[in-house]
Every structure is written in C-alpha cells, then in structure tokens.
C-alpha cells in the first residue's frame, strides 16, 4: 500500500503551481504535507484524487497510475477536499448511503460498513440529523466518514482540522491517528503542532517545490539546530566565544544576551560556562530551546 507522487508539474495559465515534485507515503504511515498558503498542497491532493490532471508527471497508488486508471484508483482512495463539500440537505446516514452506492458497495455490506463508520467517527447521535444542521466539527466528521466509507487503503485529507475548536481538534486528530494504523495517510496542513502530534514523515513544499522531506524525528534532531541562550549581568562580547568549536552561529540579542546555534548542546554548555568563569561574569540565565518544526518551517519557506 503506497502513494507515490512522481515528478508532478502543474501550470495554471503561465504560472507554475507545481514544479517536478516527487515524494512517497508508505503503509501505516501518516505523511504530513506542509506548506504556506498557495504553495501547491491542495493542487497536489486534487491531482492525486483524480479531480484535476497534471501537465506532467503521475501519481501511482499501489502501483496503479491515476492518469491511466482514474476510476480504479478512485476506489482505493478516500479523499476529503479542503472545504469539505457535503450535500447539506441530506441526512447524515442518507449521505453516507449515497456515497456507498456511488462506490458500488453491496447493500448488505454497505449497511454494516456505514454503521461501523458512524460509530468510529462518533456520529451515532447525529446520524438522523440533516448535515446542514450540524456544527463545523461534526460536518468535518461526516467528511471523514465519507472518505472512509468504502474502506480505502489510501486516505488523503486536505486540511482536515481548519476551523475547529481546540476540543474538536484533539478529537479529530485522535480519530485520524486511529484510522491510520493499517492505511497510508496523507494529510495537508499548515498547523505545525498537528504534524508534530501525529505525523511520522514530513514533506514541506514552498512555491511548488519540495524544500524538504524526511522523517519528523530526523528533522527535529539532525537538521534542526538547538538554540542556547546566555544572559549575564555584564555586557557580553561575541569574540569571547569565537574559538569554541561546534557553534554554527551566534546571534547578539541584547548587549548582555546571546543566542548560540549548535548541534551539540551538552559540549557547548560546558564550554560557555568555562568562559563565564574565566571572564568572571555573573550568570543570570543559560537555557536551551529545541528547534521545533515551526522554526524549521520558517527557515525553509521564508528565505526564498
């Protein structure tokens, strides 16, 4: 079970929205697809779901090309579009039944499947309500249920948590985590905490190009530098620390406040304290901050 995006290029008029992007998501993995607004996230997902055609490249699901067999692939994909379109004057159960019949589920198995999905998405109490009457959080659940009703192996969710309140956010994330165990799941978002909370792999896209793709853990430890902040009563001089090895960069925040960027925190902390002792400074504060995904994201998507 895998989803493979192969050198996708998409032009809108003359503007290149996607430029040769490639990545892969594997089974049992949640892939976080990140990028600023307008980076090309939704376009990629729309192509993967077969809604629009790319100018170049292809998306391959379990070895089957979306371009060649869009309808066969559509049965394997569960797709939740960005704005979560629903038929507002249908009842929840009726809507899911309609979707099941579009996917040609047999009546007997579809009833069972719908009941199970309704349970899984926490819609039991709402199943006989009109979708138009539901709150945004519940509509989002209906959208998720829609994406799951035909038991797809690959699930594509385009910003599934935008506009939800903090409680709903936690619930929907938990739901997403639950369903991901035996499926391939691609999730686009611009909420970094979300990725840190549930994703294993991260692809960051900016202006139609992939700027980084790696496991979240690798990103946070290897590529993410750690910041060390030093504050003293006396003014500091950057030159005192020039000779220390393992410092990638020093930022002067205030005359008595420095930021060190490093890969090796433990080593650096000792060295800094030595300098503090040598210069006979009175230490106010020495603290470290792990680089989080948010700062990596800023670094990668702003400098361009």
């Amino acid at each position: 079970m895998s989803l493979e995006v192969k050198e996708l290029t998409k032009l809108y008029k003359d503007q290149k929205v996607l430029d040769q992007i490639s990545f892969q998501a594997d089974s049992g993995q949640i892939l976080g697809f990140l990028g600023p607004n307008g980076a090309g996230k939704s376009t990629t997902m729309k192509i993967a779901s077969g809604y629009i055609l790319p100018d170049e490249g292809d998306v391959v699901i379990n070895g089957i090309s979306v371009l060649e067999y869009p309808k066969a692939v559509s049965r394997m994909i569960g797709y939740l579009p960005e704005n979560n379109p629903l038929y507002l004057d249908m009842y929840v159960k009726e809507f899911l039944g309609f979707i099941a019949s579009l996917y040609r589920l047999k009546a007997s198995s579809s009833k069972k499947q719908i009941a199970e999905i309704i349970g899984r998405c926490g819609l039991e109490a709402e199943q006989h309500k009109k979708i138009g009457q539901l709150s945004k959080g519940y509509r989002q659940r209906v959208g998720l249920a829609k994406a799951l009703v035909h038991d797809p192996q690959v699930i594509i969710l385009d910003e599934p948590t935008t506009g939800l309140d903090p409680n709903q956010l936690v619930e929907i994330r938990k739901l997403i985590k639950d369903i991901s165990t035996d499926k391939t799941l691609v999730l686009s978002t611009h909420i970094m905490q979300e990725v840190e909370a549930i994703c294993e792999k991260v692809v960051i896209i900016n202006k139609g190009e992939i700027v980084v793709q790696d496991l979240l853990q690798n990103l946070k430890t290897e590529k993410g530098l750690t910041s060390l902040f030093l504050e003293t009563e006396e003014p500091l001089d950057e030159e005192w620390f020039r000779n220390i090895e393992g410092i990638n960069r020093i930022n002067m925040l205030q005359s008595n406040h420095l930021e060190f960027l490093t890969f090796n925190v433990a080593q650096l902390r000792r060295e800094i304290l030595t300098v503090v002792q040598e210069k006979n400074l009175s230490l106010l504060n020495l603290r470290q901050q792990e680089k989080n995904l948010e700062s990596i994201f800023h670094q990668l998507t702003q400098s361009r």
């Binding site: 729309k46 779901s49 077969g50 809604y51 309808k71 559509s74 049965r75 994909i77 797709y79 579009p81 704005n83 379109p85 629903l86 038929y87 507002l88 004057d89 309609f98 979707i99 019949s101 579009l102 996917y103 040609r104 829609k146």
Partner: protein, 239 residues
Amino acid sequence: MWSLFLKEIDTFFNHLTGYLLLTAFLIALGLVVWVFPETGVLEYGFADLEALFVYTPFVFVFLVPAITMRMIAEERKSGTWELLITSPLKISHIILAKYFAALALIVLSLLPTLIYYYSIVQLGDPIGNIDSAGFFGSFIGLVFIGAVFAAFGIFSSALTDNQITAFVIGVFIGFLFYFGLSAMATLQSNKAAYFLEELSLSYHYESLGRGVIDSSNLIYFLSLIGSLLVLTGIIIKRR
C-alpha cells in the same frame, strides 16, 4: 448512476421551489386550456386540445431550464462536484444520470395533462369523438421537446457556476431553437429558409402533432440531444 438519478429527483422535491415550479406549470396550462376565453376548449367548441400543445412549449422554455439550472452549476459552486468527479462514476454517467432525472421530472409534470385528454373524450359529442392519434403524436412530441430543452438546460448548467446565468442561457438557447430559427426562416429566400425551418424544433414538433411518428423527426430529436450531451461532457472535461 441509478443512485445519482434518485438523488437528483430527491433534491428537486426537497425544496419548495420544486413544488412551486410544478404547480405554476400546471396552473398555467390549466388556465390556457380551460379558462382563458381566447384559448379555452370550452369556448372553442371543438373536442380538440390544440391549445395545450401550442402553449406548452412556451411554458417549457422557462420551466425546463428552471429544473436543470442547478444540476451542474450548483454542485460546482458548493464543491460537491468534486465528490462526484473523484468517485468511481464516469463523467458520462454523471451527465446521463442528471439528464434522465430532468427528463423524468418533465414527463412527471406532463402526466396530469392526460386528465385533460380523458375530460375531452368524455365531453365530446358523441363521447370519444377526438383525434387520438393527433393527441398522442403531439404528446410524444411534447416529451421530445422537453427532452431537447433538458439537454439545452444541462448543457448551459455546465457552462457556468451560477444558476441564474445557467437559467438565462438555457432559456435563450431554447427560445432560439424553438421560435428563433423558424422566425428567421421567414426572412430568408427559398433554400436558406428550408434549411432553417428543418433545423427548428417547432417544425419537427408540428409534424409529430399530425399524428404521424416519422423516423426523420425522431432522428432529429435524438441526434440533437446526443450531440448536446456529448458537448456537455467536453465542456466539463475542459474546465
């Protein structure tokens, strides 16, 4: 495909507009056939339903686009179109399901007029003194006119995301094909006039109304519908 067809019919009756449209249609026809002195059968004195068949296309020009206008435009606007396109349904199936739903609604709206036929049969002197072949020929003609207008309507609904625009375009095309072409024919010399006349809906409709179901008329209607639906598919794929 069947489920989408049912969904379309369901949506139509889920809104008050659906009932209003059908009621307005039937009231208009009822007034024309029975009440208005200029057109009413009772004043006319002959056991004949010509008024029904002359005026229904006028009402159809507006009624049918009103039925079809939201079928594609509204789905695109609300985004549910994405649900349909990314489902295993082919585009051709989506178009056909919507088209046949529109057609079924049109036939449904015509069915009550069969009561008019029964009434006239009973009112005739002697009872049953009516040109039945003419009536059923015209009735089939009306169904075909509705079928063509439905194809115009689906086509115009695919052109735009705005229902009202779709309605206006649908009315315009219907008007052009039913009245416009034959009106233009009267302005032309022989050959062009003949050509335009043959192209117009009213020409083929009237010839069905004579009670003879001629294959050339059927081919005209069916090929017009077919090419409109194919064109709709092309437009959808291009957008």
